[in-house]
């Protein structure tokens, strides 16, 4: 049976997330998970099962995440994982889309007076291992012919602690992570993000190769969230919109017109459920990592294509 049937039969979605990354996934005092990646899981659960809380969150480490997905322990992985050639082709995973365009950046204390990453000759750099970061870093410094001292660390929390204590001069990870981390400092203003973004880090949810039905479900749930933002469908107005609008695409999206849901093997109101679980893409962004939150990320590349960003969904038709 396909993953979709398994999930339906089980009644819960097993979603792989990080063991904790501020703004992206973390459990609160009641053990309820929240964050940007978590919202993606919830949206899929809502689309498939009609219940955004029917998710089992499986915390994974950099090492265990692919095994967990490949072995079927989790149905999808929403853990800021970079879409790369080898992961797609060699490790045999399907990246269903990109929910966050990221790039590896550097953060340094302002008092160092560094304004470009090329001035970092001899610096001590904290890197979070288990991602593509350490490879990018090695490549960057090699190609610029400058030396550095890598300090590998396991978790973001660890990295933050070392960086703040001055055990490394530079902290490098995905720019989103840097911003998120900086936001929680006692004095965020004392640290600057360097202009260089040394890699492309398209992050997105992924599933196993070879189960296209399931891949479609996850892919189009993501697209639904994006399209909803584009079309102005929000969790606030979705009630009245699902009564029927004069925009046929909205109607198709919300299931009042056409049989898109049935084609996916889901209910007609699958997308409505997904959007209601945490809002559209923009709402999710704003609520978890947007400028209003302590993390305070600007939309930047992640703005809708209509606003000059890269977030773009194929049409619902």
């Amino acid at each position: 049976a396909g993953t979709l049937d398994d999930v339906k039969a089980r009644g819960t979605l097993n979603c792989g997330v990080t063991t904790g990354l501020v703004g992206f996934a973390a459990p609160d005092a009641d053990g309820v998970w929240g964050g940007f990646d978590v919202s993606m899981c919830r949206a899929v659960a809502a689309a498939v099962l009609g219940d955004s809380s029917a998710v089992e969150f499986v915390p994974t480490t950099g090492k265990t995440r692919f095994t967990a997905l490949a072995s079927g322990e989790i149905d999808m992985l929403a853990r800021n994982t970079t879409w790369t050639f080898s992961r797609d082709v060699d490790l045999k995973f399907t990246f269903v889309g990109i929910n966050y365009y990221d790039g590896q950046g550097f953060m340094v204390p302002k008092e160092l007076g560094v304004s470009s990453a090329t001035e970092l000759d001899g610096a001590t750099v904290c890197i979070q291992t288990g991602t593509t970061t350490e490879l990018n870093l090695a490549d960057f410094f090699r190609s610029n012919n400058i030396s550095y001292e890598p300090v590998p660390i396991e978790t973001n929390a660890e990295g933050q602690q070392q960086y703040l204590a001055g055990a490394c001069d530079v902290y490098t990870t995905d720019a989103s992570g840097l911003a998120a981390t900086r936001a929680t400092f006692e004095a965020p203003g004392d640290h600057v993000l360097l202009p260089e973004i040394i890699s492309k880090e398209p992050l997105g949810p992924l599933v196993r190769h070879g189960d296209n039905e399931w891949g479609d479900v996850v892919r189009w749930t993501l697209n639904a969230l994006v399209t909803a933002e584009e079309l102005g469908v929000t969790s606030a107005n979705i009630g009245e919109m699902s009564a029927g609008t004069n925009n046929p695409e909205i109607n198709r999206l919300l299931g009042t017109e056409g049989t898109l849901g049935a084609m996916l093997g889901l209910d007609a109101d699958w997308a409505k459920n997904a959007i209601m679980s945490g809002g559209n893409y923009g709402e999710i962004f704003a609520m978890n990592i947007g400028e209003e939150t302590p993390i305070g990320l600007a939309r930047g590349l992640n703005a809708q294509w209509t606003n000059g960003g890269l977030i773009y969904s194929p049409p619902f038709r």
Partner: protein, 495 residues
């Protein structure tokens, strides 16, 4: 030579020693200042103690208990002391201590792990404190059940339970108070019925505990237990028709067939017909200190029988068996636990038939069990070696066969001698459970990282780890003291 004869006519009374020998001064002189080097050392150590305590105590006690986030804590600190250094922010513990203890276990069901723990203690009393009487044991047991029943939400059924347990508690308690142990022994000698052996409950506990922890219907637990019953029945009655060895094999085979093939169907059938049970909890939701205890208890509990078999195998004259056992033991003891945990998290599924998928906690339990089995085997081997040869010969000469001798004579004694070693192994395993955080499980340390990933507590550090260290210290220290006490008792106690 002068006359040597001398007779004391009056005995000398006992005198008090000179003042410098006793009292505070004597104590100080003997214990702290017995030589000038010692005096210097004493003074130096006093300085060291002062130095350490003056750093730690203010941090622990001049602290903030009610901040809702690190920022709040810092505000309060600045308001109170004008600076944020040197003061702990216990707000995080205040807010998260339940999570640190229970992980994501549903908070309305906390009673279940607690009950499991209490029952575990009750189940172990007949083993750990063999001086406790049967009545005492049953009293503790019904008391535990009574308290649980009182804590449950009231329904008619629960009221009946409460009444029942209250009655039982009262009856046994009354007997305990009014009837001395000697009198009771008298009664028994005259043919009064004894209470059932409390070890009966100990035998039930391994099936009760998973049910309490994981919930769901009661049938899987019962069906698993039934496998042992089948094995036992085959063993008991097969002997009449087959040789000892064949019976053993048949018993094991019957049980295994039951577990692998039949029990699944039977239990799901029974569950759908008679869904008696409690709310199910996923193992994902296990975490925190509870997970450490659970992993430790399961690993030790399950490894005990394996350890016995391995120890016997290692002692055996059968070269192949011995070789296999030694190979297993030395392999497991030769690699770090973390590599075994890697196997659990990355590889175990590869070695299972395609499509098998059991969750990570179970996989970790399996590897931890194998790990502790190797250590357990060595502990039990020590116990076996401590037994005099005469015990084997006595059993042989009475005509007991190998397995009877092992079961009735050798193992009960060897295990008893091994208890201190088993407790030490448990402490080791228990501490090692922290390693599961490395493969992404939310034990206390994993939770600490998760908590630090929460926006409100990002940046907190010492408080969490101090709390965790404190928890471990309390548990491990008391257990190690207990095992030392046992060791002393075994050394002096007459056999």
């Amino acid at each position: 030579m002068s006359d040597v004869s001398f007779v004391r006519t009056e005995m000398l009374p006992e005198q008090d020693p000179p003042g410098s020998e006793v009292g505070v001064i004597g104590w100080l002189r003997h214990n702290l200042f017995s030589s000038w080097i010692n005096g210097i050392l004493t003074v130096l150590s006093l300085f060291a103690i002062y130095f350490v305590l003056s750093g730690i105590l203010p941090w622990v006690f001049q602290s903030v208990w009610n901040g809702g986030s690190l920022t709040e804590c810092r505000e309060i600190m600045t308001a109170t002391w004008g600076q944020t250094h040197g003061h702990a922010c216990w707000g995080v513990i205040n807010e998260r201590w339940l999570q640190l203890l229970f992980g994501f276990y549903p908070s309305d069901l906390y009673g279940r792990p607690i009950l499991s723990l209490v029952l575990l203690l009750v189940a172990m009393t007949p083993i750990l404190f063999n001086m406790i009487s049967r009545r005492m044991n049953w009293f503790l047991l019904v008391l535990a059940f009574f308290v649980t029943a009182v804590l449950m939400d009231a329904s008619i059924f629960v009221w009946i339970l409460r009444a029942g347990f209250a009655g039982a508690t009262l009856v046994i308690g009354y007997q305990l108070v009014t009837l001395s142990g000697a009198d009771r022994a008298e009664q028994i000698a005259q043919g009064a019925k004894r209470l059932p052996n409390p070890l009966m409950f100990t035998a039930i506990y391994p099936f009760l505990m998973p049910w309490l922890m994981w919930g769901g219907t009661i049938w899987p637990a019962i069906c698993t237990a039934f496998g042992f019953v089948i094995g036992y029945l085959v063993l008991r009655f097969g002997r009449a028709y087959m040789s000892e060895l064949l019976t053993m094999i048949a018993a094991v085979a019957a049980a295994v067939i039951w577990w692998l093939v039949l029990s699944g169907y039977v239990s799901s059938a029974l569950s759908s017909v008679l869904p008696i049970g409690i709310e199910a909890v996923q193992s994902r939701q296990f975490g925190g200190f509870m997970l450490a205890i659970l992993l430790g208890v399961v690993a030790i509990g399950c490894s005990l029988p394996i350890g016995v078999v391995l120890a016997l195998g290692r002692q055996s004259d059968l070269v192949v068996v011995k070789f296999l056992c030694v190979g297993f033991i030395e392999f497991i003891r030769g690699v770090p636990l973390i590599t075994l945990l890697f196997v659990a998290s990355l590889l175990l599924n590869i070695f299972m038939p395609p499509g098998t998928n059991f969750d990570i906690i179970l996989r970790v339990m399996i590897m931890m069990t194998l790990f502790s089995a190797a250590y357990m085997a060595e502990v039990i081997r020590g116990g076996l070696a401590a037994l005099p040869r005469g015990q084997y010969e006595g059993a042989d000469s009475l005509g007991l066969d190998y397995w009877q001798a092992q079961r009735l004579i050798i193992m009960p004694q060897a295990l008893k001698v091994s208890i201190p070693g088993i407790v030490s192994t448990f402490i080791g395993i228990f501490k090692d459970t922290t390693l599961v955080s490395i493969i992404g499980l939310f034990d206390v340390i994993g939770l600490a990282s998760a908590i630090r990933a929460d926006t409100s507590w990002n940046g907190i550090y010492w408080e969490l780890f101090a709390f965790i260290a404190f928890l471990f210290f309390i548990v491990c220290f008391s257990m190690s003291r207990y095992s030392m006490y046992l060791e002393r008792k075994l050394q002096t106690g007459h056999r």
